[in-house]
Symmetry: C2
Subunit: 174 residues, 2 copies
DNA sequence: TATTGTTATACTCTATAACTATA
DNA sequence: TATAGTTATAGAGTATAACAATA
């Protein structure tokens, strides 16, 4: 059995030399370790995509199950509850979503009575999205759920490591 | 220590208290800082999603521009080049993609002569995906590009911080 | 009977352009 | 003329089910 094969080092053409000729059975554990030892698995962007994938799935299920809400609706609701009074344009920019997507998200939240649109007196073209009292209640519950999701997804990190991860992400995410 | 102002604390209906009353002009910088001080902006999963969004966009453009490749194709090509000889099923699991998606990705790479399917002698149902010589050349170039993309996206981090970020992500991404 | 790859299908998400109302 | 929001539409991404070959 190959103990810890350094992968991909300028291997010419010898196809699957590591795979063939090794034996007939691969332990699942060793196999997974092989994948994690890959060049791809060492790249930050790949790891980031993977983390966001598992996290998004988990948080989405949790929100859907308890509040019939999705992460993307929650992110709008959260900013509408924050007190900073975001316009739809600002929501679009900060959430990296197209303005047309914000429309449907706010529509959905408005139909459920969680937010309302207010015409900005200083520029009557723009609509400020603010949470209703019910929306605030739901938002706080959603925040509790998403924090719980963070806890689960980051369970392998110590509290100090979680803080550090948040700090590092904060430096590059904006 | 609580440097970030705790936002949103049960503000009843007073809409945009922070926004109104300050003045008639909002500096873009202050406004952005308000968004970054939000509860949402402090949650790890939100930051992760944002980082992956900007990173994915950047890397995708770079790969498309230089190699007419997308990140998702690169990830398959990279594992096909790694020497571990992944089956399509294994690619599906490690990349968190549906088996049917792997089919079209491998099809595309195969049509370009970058990979080929080999029937696994030990289980003739499964196909091992291996890179051709040309595929290996393209892969190494793609790795160079994605590393460059990482450099750009993480430019605000010190080398030590990048290593630490990769380590923390590695602990939670699997 | 169960699994791998495949195909077909539908659903969600994302991106683009055109329209309106305000500026 | 330019911008905020809206609408419509198409494309990319994702999920599901059914099928053939093999185990």
């Amino acid at each position: 059995m190959s103990p810890a094969p350094p992968p991909h080092t300028a291997t010419a053409a010898p196809d699957v030399t590591q795979t063939i000729g090794v034996g007939q059975h691969e332990e699942p554990h060793d196999r997974d370790a092989q994948f994690r030892g890959t060049t791809l698995a060492s790249q930050v962007q790949f790891l980031t995509a993977r983390l966001r994938s598992v996290g998004h799935l988990h948080a989405n299920q949790l929100l859907q199950q308890h509040l019939e809400l999705k992460v993307r609706h929650y992110s709008v609701l959260s900013l509408a509850t924050s007190g900073i009074g975001p316009s739809q344009r600002e929501l679009s920019e900060f959430l990296s979503l197209d303005p047309s997507q914000i429309v449907s998200l706010v529509d959905a939240l408005e139909h459920r009575g969680l937010v309302k649109r207010q015409v900005d007196a200083r520029d009557r073209r723009s609509r400020i999205v603010v949470a209703t009292e019910e929306g605030q209640r739901v938002c706080h519950e959603a925040e509790r759920l998403t924090r719980a999701s963070d806890e689960v997804v980051l369970r392998r990190l110590t509290p100090g490591e979680r803080t550090e991860l948040a700090r590092l992400l904060g430096k590059v995410a904006f």
